[in-house]
Structure formats: structure tokens, C-alpha cells
């Protein structure tokens, strides 16, 4: 029985890497009259669905993708987040 797993991969610049986007965002906060915000880092979020027999296998696929394609380990860190698991045997409700 195969299950569909919906993941999010969050890719962010590693600590110490200059992030001019984050700096530009931070510099704009004054225009919004917002105070007390610092450490802005701009990254990228990729959502994807993996069909696999279990969550461990699905996660292994996502980890590989994140490591080899979605992030550059020299400059970026990533985190993998499971959003949803949907069993394919349960028929999709096609209401109305």
C-alpha cells in the first residue's frame, strides 16, 4: 500500500553567509515603523509530494533531493517538514 506524503523543504543561507536580501528586508522595516526585529534571513521553501511505502522511505527521498538539488551544502542549510500523509487506498472524495 503506497501513501502520498506531502513535504516542505526549507532552504536558508547558512549562518555567516552574507544575505543581501535579508539585509534589504531588514533595512525596510523602518519604513513600516516596526521596531525590535533583527536577524532577517531570506530563503526558499519547496513543497512536494512523494509516493512511498512508509514515511522513512519518503523522507529518505526528500533528504536526497534536498541535499543534491534543492540546496547547495556549501552555502545553504535545509530542514525537512512533513505536512500531510494521504493513504492512496482511501478514495478521494469527489463531492458535489
Amino acid at each position: 500500500m503506497s501513501t502520498s506524503y506531502r513535504f516542505a523543504v526549507n532552504v536558508t543561507p547558512k549562518p555567516g553567509i552574507l544575505d543581501p536580501q535579508g539585509r534589504a528586508v531588514e533595512a525596510s522595516l523602518g519604513h513600516l515603523a516596526i521596531e525590535g526585529v533583527s536577524g532577517v534571513r531570506v530563503g526558499r521553501r519547496v513543497e512536494l509530494t512523494v509516493a512511498a511505502d512508509d514515511e522513512v522511505l519518503a523522507r529518505a527521498t526528500v533528504e536526497r533531493l534536498a541535499r543534491e538539488l534543492l540546496s547547495n551544502p556549501l552555502i545553504e542549510a535545509y530542514g525537512v517538514e512533513l505536512l500531510e500523509a494521504t493513504s492512496s487506498t482511501t478514495s478521494e472524495g469527489r463531492g458535489d
Binding site: 553567509i17 552574507l18 543581501p20 536580501q21 534589504a24 526558499r44 538539488l69 534543492l70 547547495n72 556549501l74 552555502i75
Partner: protein, 248 residues
């Protein structure tokens, strides 16, 4: 027969014609290598040209890295073949791990299209031996992600091994070492504009030598680099040809 130099064409490459033209000026036969092919058509050297391969989606160069032709390019490089990446081609080589480091978003966030100066750090390499007398080369840049990054350990290793090939300098030739020096257009660490791999047969640089390869273009400062590459490839091909070795 003229030596054959491959120019890889990805969807989104836009300096392939400029590059083939410069190769012709240097007396070689350019051969376009489409990204979906795996045959290298008997070329003696390969240039990855500038552009926006696969739209630069995700990160500049990363999707191109996984194209069929790049598997052949990597094998060619592993075998000692000469490979040069210009601008986007440099980004592809860095993503593929064929040259060290990464290219980050320009410090000022803007795409930069203007002339800069670089110093050739080593003139005894296959990429630079005909670069001419030691003076800064004035070359165009055109990139949004050209800020060279490597971690501190890698930087020390690059310097120690002589792998830094080009550095951004001021017009008078003094090095723009600090990343915030105006002569360093994109904030590259140690003003690095180009590097080579440890073996010395793969190099990449952000500026465009092919766009400064004849007087008509306003400068031929880059032509020495194109000629160096073509002549080195021709020499390596000659060595590889068994008939010629026997004929000596």
C-alpha cells in the same frame, strides 16, 4: 585540420554565438554541444558559455549541472580535458563541483553589466599563458550572482595551491582585496573573479573574455585568454593523437 572546441548550449545560454565567434577568431573550429547530447563530437576542449541556463531557476547553474551533456563534460574533465566556464558557465561548474566554491547574489542585489578590471594571478596555465604582459585586463561583466564564496579553509587552500586565477583590481592594477572595495563589483571574497580546480585543467571566471576579443568590440583584452585555451587544447589533442606521436 583545425582543432575542434566544444561550446555547450543549454536552453537559456546566450553567449554561445559570441563564444563560437571568438573561437573562430583564434583559429579553431567551434562545435556546438546541445545539452541533451552525451557525445562530445571529438572536441579537444570545452567552453561553457554565459547566459541563464534553464532560466537560472532554483540556483544559477544547478539544473544545468544535471543535464546529460554535463555527465560527459565531467568525465572529460576527470580525464584531464580542458574545460572553461564563463559567467553562467562558471556557475554551472561550481554547482557541479568541478571547480571549488559558490557564486552568491551580488552584494548590492543588482544585476551588473559594465566593464571591470581583473589581474591574471598566474600566467603559466593553459587558460592564461597568452594573456599578454602583466597588466589589468579590462573585461565586461554581466551577472546577478557573481559574488564568489568559499569557506575560510577552502580560501586558504585555494591561495596555497595557486588556484585563484583572476582577481578584481582597480584600473591601476592594485588588488581590491576587501569585499566592499568598489573595484570588487559583487562582493567576492578576496576579490576572486576566477578559479581553477586542483588538477589545473578546469577553470571558471565571471567576466566575459569572449565579449572583448576584437578591437571592433572596444577591447581585445580577453582574446589572450581565448587564444590560450584554444592553443592549449590543440596541444593536448596533438599529444592524444597516436599517429602523430608515432610520426615524430
Amino acid at each position: 585540420m583545425d582543432v575542434r572546441i566544444g561550446v555547450v548550449v543549454f536552453p537559456g545560454s546566450n553567449c554561445d554565438r559570441d563564444t563560437t565567434h571568438a573561437i573562430e577568431l583564434a583559429g579553431a573550429e567551434p562545435v556546438e554541444l546541445w545539452h541533451e547530447q552525451t557525445s562530445l563530437d571529438g572536441v579537444a576542449g570545452i567552453i561553457l558559455p554565459g547566459g541563464f541556463a534553464y532560466g537560472d531557476y532554483l540556483r544559477a547553474g544547478v539544473i544545468a549541472r544535471f543535464s546529460p551533456v554535463m555527465r560527459s563534460v565531467a568525465a572529460f574533465a576527470a580525464d584531464g580535458g580542458l574545460v572553461l566556464g564563463i559567467c553562467n558557465g562558471f556557475q554551472v561548474l561550481a554547482e557541479a563541483g568541478l571547480v571549488p566554491g559558490a557564486l552568491l547574489r551580488n552584494r548590492g542585489l543588482r544585476f551588473l553589466g559594465r566593464d571591470i578590471h581583473i589581474a591574471v594571478e598566474h600566467t603559466d596555465t593553459p587558460f592564461t599563458h597568452l594573456a599578454g604582459p602583466r597588466r589589468p585586463l579590462r573585461l565586461p561583466i554581466a551577472h546577478g550572482e557573481g559574488s564568489y564564496f568559499a569557506d575560510p579553509g577552502m580560501l586558504e587552500e585555494l591561495e596555497a595551491e595557486g588556484q585563484v586565477l583572476f582577481r578584481y583590481v582597480r584600473a591601476d592594477g592594485t588588488v581590491a582585496r576587501e569585499s566592499d572595495d568598489p573595484a570588487n563589483p559583487n562582493g567576492s571574497l578576496r576579490a576572486i573573479a576566477g578559479v581553477r580546480n586542483r588538477a589545473g585543467n578546469v577553470a571558471g571566471l565571471m567576466p566575459h573574455p569572449e565579449r572583448a576579443s576584437e578591437g571592433l568590440l572596444g577591447s581585445d583584452d580577453g582574446f589572450g585568454l581565448i587564444r590560450s585555451f584554444v592553443e592549449s587544447a590543440a596541444a593536448s589533442a596533438r599529444v592524444a593523437e597516436p599517429d602523430e606521436v608515432l610520426a615524430r
